[in-house]
C-alpha cells in the first residue's frame, strides 16, 4: 500500500472515530435521565429533586490554622502521609521539605539532584518520598537513611525509563514497593521500586492510550488495581494495571488540558480539573459524566483548574485555580460555598496543589507564593 493510500485510510479512520464518538455521546445523553440534557447537571438535579439543602459555611468555619514557611520558590506539589500528620512538598527551589503539620517544624529538607521538580509523594509507611520532574526520572529517598558528608540525603533509587518529564507520581496504597508515574511522553508507568524496573507501561507510541502529555494520576483507594490519568489530549482515562495495552475507558468532555484527576472517596467516581475552567465528576463503571462544576464570570478571563481534592465524605470538592481562587464546591448541588482564596490570611498567589489529610480533618494548599497553608474546621479558634 502506498503512503498516499495510507494517508487516505488515516483520514477515513479519523472521520469514523469522530463519528462513533459523536454517536456514543448522543447515546450517553439519553441515559442522563435526571434533568436538563443540555447541561450536565445530573447529580445537582437529583439532589435538588430529593430536597438536599446546600452547605453553608460561617465566617470562621474553615480557617487557616498553619502557614508552613521555608521554601524559596513556587510550591508545585504536596502529599500527606497516610497515617501521621506529615506533609512532603516540592518546590521550584529544587528541594523537598518534610513538615510536621501539627508543629509546623521541618523534619527533612532534601536538596534534589535536578532542581526542576514537578511532583512528590509519600510512601504508605511514610518512610520514603518519591519525586520527579524535568529530568524524566522518578527519584526515591529513604527518610531514615543518614545524610552524606555534604548534609544531603542520598537517593536510594532512581526510576529511569520515561522519555519525557515526570508530571505526577503516586504510591500504590499499602505498597512501599510500587508506584505509578505519569509523563510528558504520553504514558503512565507502574514501577517495581525494588528492582527499579517498569512493570507495565500504559499507552505509548504503538498502544492505545493518551495522545498527548499525561499530567496527573490518581489511584483508586478502594481498588488499587484501577487508576485514572488526565492529559493534554483533553481526556481522562481509566486503567487496569493488569491490562496495559489499552485503557478500560476514555472520558471525553473537557475542552482543554486535564490538569488534575482525583478519585471520589467511594472509589466508583472520579473528579477532573481542566484548563477549560471546569471540574467534572465521572462514573467509572458507566462512563457517565455526572456533574460539571463551573462558575461563570463577568470577565473573559479563563481560570484554569490546577488541582482538586475531595473531602472525606465527598460532599466538598476543593479546586485551586490559576488566578488564586480556591473554590469549595458542594458536590451535590454544584454550588460554590466558599472561596478560600478570599479568606483572611489566604495565599497571595496561585494555588498549585491541594491535599487532604488521611483522616479528612485538614486540607493543605501549596502556592506559587512559596508557602503551604493548612485549613481546618475552625469553630471559635483564632486565626494564626
Amino acid at each position: 500500500m502506498s503512503v498516499a493510500e495510507l494517508k487516505a485510510r488515516h483520514v477515513a479512520a479519523t472521520e469514523t472515530v469522530n463519528s462513533l464518538r459523536e454517536r456514543l455521546q448522543q447515546k450517553r445523553l439519553l441515559l442522563l435521565d435526571t434533568d436538563d440534557l443540555i447541561e450536565v447537571v445530573a447529580v445537582a438535579g437529583y439532589a435538588k429533586a430529593h430536597g438536599k439543602s446546600s452547605v453553608s459555611f460561617g465566617a470562621t468555619d474553615l480557617v487557616c490554622c498553619r502557614t508552613l514557611q521555608g521554601h524559596t520558590g513556587k510550591v508545585y506539589s504536596l502529599d500527606w502521609t497516610p497515617e501521621k500528620n506529615r506533609i512532603v512538598s516540592a518546590s521550584q527551589d529544587g528541594r523537598l521539605i518534610v513538615w510536621n503539620a501539627l508543629t509546623s517544624q521541618k523534619t527533612h529538607a532534601i536538596k534534589l539532584p535536578c532542581a526542576w521538580v514537578m511532583t512528590c509523594a509519600f510512601s504508605p509507611t511514610g518512610q520514603f518520598v518519591a519525586c520527579g520532574g524535568l529530568d524524566s526520572v522518578c527519584s526515591i529517598f529513604n527518610l531514615n537513611s543518614p545524610s552524606d558528608k555534604d548534609g544531603n540525603l542520598p537517593e536510594s533509587k532512581m526510576l529511569s525509563g520515561h522519555k519525557g518529564y515526570v508530571s505526577s507520581c503516586q504510591y500504590v496504597p499499602d505498597e512501599d514497593t510500587h508506584l505509578i508515574t505519569s509523563s510528558g511522553d504520553h504514558t503512565c508507568v507502574l514501577w517495581d521500586i525494588t528492582t527499579g524496573l517498569r512493570t507495565s507501561v500504559f499507552g505509548g507510541e504503538f498502544q492505545s492510550g493518551h495522545t498527548a502529555d499525561v499530567l496527573s494520576v490518581s489511584i483508586n483507594g478502594s481498588n488499587s488495581r484501577m487508576f485514572v490519568s488526565g492529559s493534554c489530549d483533553s481526556t481522562a482515562r481509566l486503567w487496569d494495571t493488569r491490562v496495559a495495552s489499552r485503557a478500560v475507558r476514555t472520558f471525553h468532555g473537557h475542552e482543554g488540558d486535564v490538569n488534575t484527576v482525583k478519585f471520589f472517596p467511594d472509589g466508583n467516581r472520579f473528579g477532573t480539573g481542566s484548563d477549560d475552567g471546569t471540574c467534572r465528576l465521572f462514573d467509572i463503571r458507566t462512563g457517565h459524566q455526572l456533574q460539571e462544576y463551573y462558575q461563570q464570570h463577568s470577565d473573559d478571563e479563563v481560570r484554569h483548574v490546577t488541582s482538586i481534592a475531595f473531602s472525606i465524605s465527598g460532599r466538598l470538592l476543593f479546586a485551586g485555580y490559576s488566578n488564586g481562587d480556591c473554590y469549595v464546591w458542594d458536590t451535590l448541588l454544584a454550588q460554590v460555598v466558599l472561596n478560600l482564596g478570599s479568606l483572611q490570611n489566604s495565599h497571595e498567589s496561585r494555588i498549585s496543589c491541594l491535599g487532604l489529610s488521611a483522616d479528612g480533618s485538614a486540607l493543605c494548599t501549596g502556592s506559587y507564593d512559596t508557602n503551604l497553608k493548612i485549613w481546618a474546621f475552625g469553630g471559635h479558634r483564632k486565626v494564626i
Binding site: V3, L6, L20, R23, L31, Q69, C232, G287
Partner: protein, 271 residues
Amino acid sequence: MAESYRVVATAKSGCSSSVPSLPPPCPKSPPEYPDLYGKRREMAKVQMLEREIGFLEEELKSVDSLQPASRCCKEVTEFVVANPDPLMPTNRKNRRSCRFWKWLCGIPCFNFSWICCCCYSGCSLRIHLPRCCDCNCNCDPCDLCNCCSCIRCPAPNWRCCSCRSCCPFPCSCSCCCPCSCSCPCSCSCPRSSCCRNISCCSDCCTCGFPSCPDCSCCRCSFPECSCCTWLCCCPRWTFSAPKCPKSPKCPEVRLCSNCTKTCCNPCCLFF
C-alpha cells in the same frame, strides 16, 4: 543503470563498425526510494485508529445495557450523606441545640470532655465518639479541637502547654505555640535555639539546615558572606566558600503534540 553502463563499455572496447552506435549516456536523477520509516509510522497510526474504532463499536453496543445516570446520582448522594465529614459546618438547628452544650463546655471539661469536643467540632444530634482529644491527652489531633484541658500526657517527657495541647517532641520544646496563646519558647535540646518564639531549630545556626522559618540563625564563617535562606552566599573570590544557587537552565522538553499553549511545556511553569 549498471546494465546500460556495461553495454556502452563493451561497445567502446569492441570498437567494431558492426556494433550499432548507442545514444550517449543520459544521466537520470536517482530513483525515489520509498520513505519506509514514514510509511511504517503512518501504518502504525492507521492501525491504532482502526483499533480505536473497534473499541468504540464495542462501547456503543454496551451502552444500551448501562444503568441510567439517576442510579449513579443516587449512589453518590447516599454515600455523601452516610459519611461524616470533619470539614463540614454544623447546620443551624444543631447550632441552636449546642448552645446549652457550649455553656456547659465553658467550664473545665473532665469526664464530660467528649461531649465538649463533640460540640465544638460540630457534631450532629447523633452524638458519637469524636475524633478530637478525650482529655486523657490522646492529643495527636488535639490542637485542631478547642475543647479539652490537657491534664496529663501520654508519655513522660511530653508536656502540657498552657494552650491545652501536648508537645510530642522528646526535647520538650514548648512548641505548641501554634495555638494562639503565648508559650514561652524554651528549648532544652542540645545545639538548638528558638526562632522568633515560634519553633525550635536544631542545628539552626548551621547554614544549610533550614529548620528556622527565616535565616536569622544563619551564620557564615566568612565575614564577606551573607545569608541566603539556605546557604551562605559569598563573592566569587572568597576561597572555597559555597556559591549561591543559580537558577538552572531549563532543559529542552518536547512540547505536547497537540498543544497550542505553552502550558504544556512545563518549563513555562518555572518562569
